[in-house]
């Protein structure tokens, strides 16, 4: 197993390097000038030139890339061009929120998606399955920001049940934290729940027709036991694949969700950095997102191995 993990991790390194190169190139294609943003349009050309020089923005792009890569190798993510704060500190401030949002959305996805998937998979033609299918189609089609705004208007403004936005740290006040994170996690998690339910339902429906399930039924095993012990284990691999991909979507979707609910996570940090052309922040946050995605993929591969030992050992 350790060899399997090491091999997968080594394969991820070229992906990270390629991503960093692509990121850097894409950033410099973008129009705009961070120096103009920082100093505003009342700055003189001399002030703009001085700032560009201080930030190495007057160097050729390949030189800037090498300088950045060198700093990265030393663990130095640089400083925000706009606020002057160390990028590592900015990320450190926001990473807990991003992790909490992603895990919370994942929890919502599992909470809704697994029972819904089982319900549809076991009785695909029942009224409940049809209702869930309709919900799934809607949940997948609705954009995250629209759902977020709708929940804000109904739940926060009209009903006043939960706050419309903002963040309270878990350590500061767990109840307030739960209240603040409920709507964002539901907003972000519902789409993933729908996808998970669909994959799980398809897997279960297929597995239910397999011989070993028929045998289990013939032996008189209780339906719940058949589903939990025999069907789910075999039906879950496509759902795990979908979930791995969906976690990547959660990382991306967090940008909009955080903006709508004004959460101080990596998404809003990235959004502001893009608007302000804060190159070092954009590079660091995006690279971190790529790294997280690579880790999630690695975890997905490991999960395959745990669920189905044949994948780990290469056996048939």
């Amino acid at each position: 197993m350790i060899g399997f993990i090491v091999r997968r991790f080594l394969l991820a390194l070229p992906v990270l390097f390629g991503a960093s190169l692509a990121l850097f190139a894409l950033l410099y294609i973008l129009p705009g000038d961070p120096a103009s943003f920082v100093l505003g349009d009342s700055a003189t050309p001399a002030q703009l030139a001085a700032l560009r020089h201080r930030l190495d923005l007057d160097q050729p792009v390949p030189v800037q890339y090498l300088l950045w890569l060198g700093r990265l190798a030393r663990g130095d993510l640089g400083e925000s061009l706009v606020s002057g704060y160390p990028v590592a500190r900015l990320i450190g401030q926001r990473l807990p929120v991003a992790i909490e949002l992603t895990l919370g959305a994942l929890f919502v996805a599992l909470l809704i998606g697994v029972p819904a998937g089982i319900a549809v998979g076991v009785r695909p033609r029942g009224w409940l399955a049809r209702a869930i299918d309709m919900f799934n189609a809607t949940a997948i089609a609705v954009p995250v920001f629209w759902l977020g705004l709708l929940l804000q208007i109904v739940v926060a403004i009209k009903l006043g049940w939960l706050p419309a936005g903002g963040y309270v740290a878990l350590a500061t006040d767990p109840v307030k934290n739960l209240r603040a994170m409920t709507l964002p996690c539901v907003t972000l998690g519902v789409g993933t729940a729908a996808v998970l339910a669909r994959f799980l339902a398809t897997g279960i429906a297929e597995t239910m027709t397999r011989d070993f399930v028929v045998t289990a039924r013939a032996k008189g095993l209780a339906p719940a036991r058949i589903i939990v012990r025999h069907v789910l284990r075999n039906a879950v691999i496509p759902a795990v694949t979908a979930l791995g991909i969906q976690i990547g979507r959660l990382i991306g979707g967090a940008v909009l969700t955080e903006a709508v609910f004004n959460l101080p996570g990596l998404g809003t940090l990235l959004w502001s950095a893009l608007v302000q052309r804060d190159y070092f922040v954009i590079q660091a946050v995006t690279l971190l997102a790529v790294l997280l995605f690579v880790i999630v993929n690695l975890a997905t591969d490991i999960t395959y191995g745990v669920i189905d030992p044949r994948i780990r050992t290469g056996a048939r």
Binding site: L30, P31, G32, D33, S36, F37, V38, L39, G40, D41, S42, A43, T44, P45, A46, Q47, S80, V82, S83, G84, Y85, L90, Q93, R94, F145, L149, Q152, I153, A156, I157, G160, P163, A164, G165, G166, A259, V260, F261, N262, P264, T268, L269, W271, S272, A273, V275, Q276, R277
Partner: protein, 516 residues
């Protein structure tokens, strides 16, 4: 040397000075607020602070600067939306005098003031802070604003500032300056230390900034606010929803379109006196452009239906203008202003006079400014009626500005923030700025440049007003920057808030706010 005490209104000949008037019943608010510092005031803003350095001035940082740092002198706005100003008030200065030649400003520094780190503020600290601000290496954009000041000396309890030439504007520009502790020069990003009513507590860039009431403030803080939190929003809809869900007390720099929604929820909403001139800038320097022809430019200036723009784009909440001053300003001349009233027949005559057939030009707008796009579309429609084609293109905002500075454009719908519109603020507007804006150097219309500097050098109030009227006349004759309206950004306050005061240059003053 004879010294005269001048108010800014006296300098430009305004009427009676109004001292420290409030917008919303400040006096009763003060009475209620004293001695109860318990409340948290939450201010939502759609423009995150780009810096905590008090020497870098842009719209985003004004609210923060106002709370943590004090000016030597200040000017309140006494009415919205007419942009009327009061007279200069003393803050960290107890007196100010200007010599007859208008080359020296002397300010007596207040005793008993402490910085947030507990150290007493001295006259040397103020002088050091001024020197730091006027030094181009350290002074940020403040160095440009105070460029007229060439030397700073200490004389007893006074700081004495000398200007390179007679400068009426230097005193006015000092309202922008903020005193910071010399011990923290260069550390403002992490530890901004001033003398203001609130001290720095916590900052998470682009998310929130928290300030705490400074108990050692040099004057009573007439407010019950203990904690002041600025929350930054990347999405204006999210900010609006937070306001409607009662999670904000004050909303700053929102979308004008949301004013009615806020009012429906019991908020007071208004366009704050942060004058963005929305204007159409016509580049007369490109020889192949139709806009090189002054008759086409005159036609364009008369083909702008400002009333339609104000009604349809800005929901009737902004001030249409044809000269870059509001009617409340003494330099406003209705006769000159009327020259560019919407008149398609006159515009068509100018097109005929130009001798051009099917004149066409590119009309640029910022991709981040949907209102500007609507403005451009209204202009495009009216120009089409007189046979002029304007092709609208969207540009990234920094490209728009950089191209404007390089002269690489034909026309831009451009918003230029100048604080409060005052004749002196030409220097703050990157379009009208005679020396360093998009039309800088040789590209500036010589007539405009000359008229501006002639006017700015005049000390006599009445002559100065007349001269600035002439500046606007020159602007109309040359027709290269056409004012459309003065667009204040949306501000709102919940019904629990009273005592909101505006400073001319720095916007909201939080020390008078009371929350019920």
């Amino acid at each position: 040397m004879g010294l005269v005490r001048l108010t800014r209104r006296q300098l430009i000949g305004g009427g009676s000075a109004l001292l420290g008037a409030s917008l919303l019943d400040l006096s009763s608010a003060l009475a209620q607020g004293a001695g109860k510092p318990t409340q948290t005031l939450t201010v939502g803003t759609n423009i995150p602070f780009t810096t905590l350095d008090p020497n870098t001035i842009n719209t985003s940082v004004f609210p923060f600067r106002n709370s943590v740092f004090d000016p030597l002198i200040a000017i309140p706005v006494t009415d919205i939306p007419t942009y009327k100003l009061g007279s200069i008030q003393n803050e960290l200065a107890t007196t100010y005098t200007v010599n007859k030649e208008v080359t020296e400003i002397r300010m007596r520094v207040r005793d008993g003031v402490r910085f947030h780190d507990g150290n007493a503020m001295t006259v040397e600290d103020v002088a050091a802070s001024l020197r730091y601000a006027i030094d181009p290496a350290t002074g940020g954009t403040m160095a440009g604003s105070l460029a007229d000041i060439t030397s700073i000396a200490v004389d007893g309890n006074d700081v004495v500032m000398k200007t390179s030439a007679p400068s009426v504007d230097a005193l006015y520009r000092l309202t922008l300056f903020r005193v910071q502790s010399p011990k923290f020069f260069g550390k403002a990003a992490n530890t901004p230390v001033g003398t203001g009513p609130f001290k720095f507590a916590e900052y998470v860039p682009n998310d929130h900034l928290t300030l705490e009431r400074f108990d050692g403030y040099w004057k009573p803080i007439q407010s019950n606010v203990k904690t002041l939190t600025f929350k930054f929003y990347t999405d204006p809809e999210a900010m609006l929803n937070a306001a409607l869900a009662s999670e904000l007390d004050i909303l700053q720099f929102g979308q004008i379109k949301d004013a009615a929604t806020l009012e429906g929820a019991g908020w007071a909403a208004y366009a704050a006196p942060i004058a963005d001139y929305v204007m159409l800038v016509l580049n007369y320097t490109a020889p192949d452009s139709a806009l090189a022809n002054v008759n086409i430019r005159q036609a364009v200036a008369r083909a702008i239906d400002r009333q339609a723009i104000v009604k349809n784009v800005y929901f009737g909440r902004v001030q249409p203008i044809t000269i870059p001053m509001p009617p409340s300003d003494p330099t406003y001349d209705p006769k000159i202003a009327a020259e560019w009233d919407f008149n398609l027949a006159a515009a068509a005559d100018y097109v005929k006079k130009s001798g051009l057939t099917k004149p066409t030009f590119e009309l640029r707008v910022g991709s981040n400014d949907p209102d500007a796009r609507k403005v451009a579309q209204i202009i495009q429609g009216d120009l089409g009626k007189i046979g002029v084609t304007a092709n609208i293109t969207l540009k990234d905002p920094t490209t728009l500005v950089n191209d404007a500075i390089a002269g690489n454009f034909e026309s831009n719908v451009y918003a230029c923030s100048v604080g409060v519109p005052e004749v002196q603020d030409f220097e703050d507007c990157s379009v009208y700025r005679p020396n360093k804006g998009p039309f800088s150097g040789a590209k500036t219309f010589p007539e405009f440049k000359k008229s501006y500097y002639d006017a700015a050098a005049i000390v006599d109030p009445q002559q100065r007003i007349a001269a600035f009227k002439q500046v606007f006349e020159v602007l109309h004759q040359t027709a290269w920057a056409v004012p459309i309206c003065m667009r204040g950004l949306l501000c709102g306050q919940s019904k629990q808030i009273s005592g909101v005061v505006y400073d001319a240059k720095t916007h909201l003053v939080y020390q008078g706010i009371v929350k019920s």
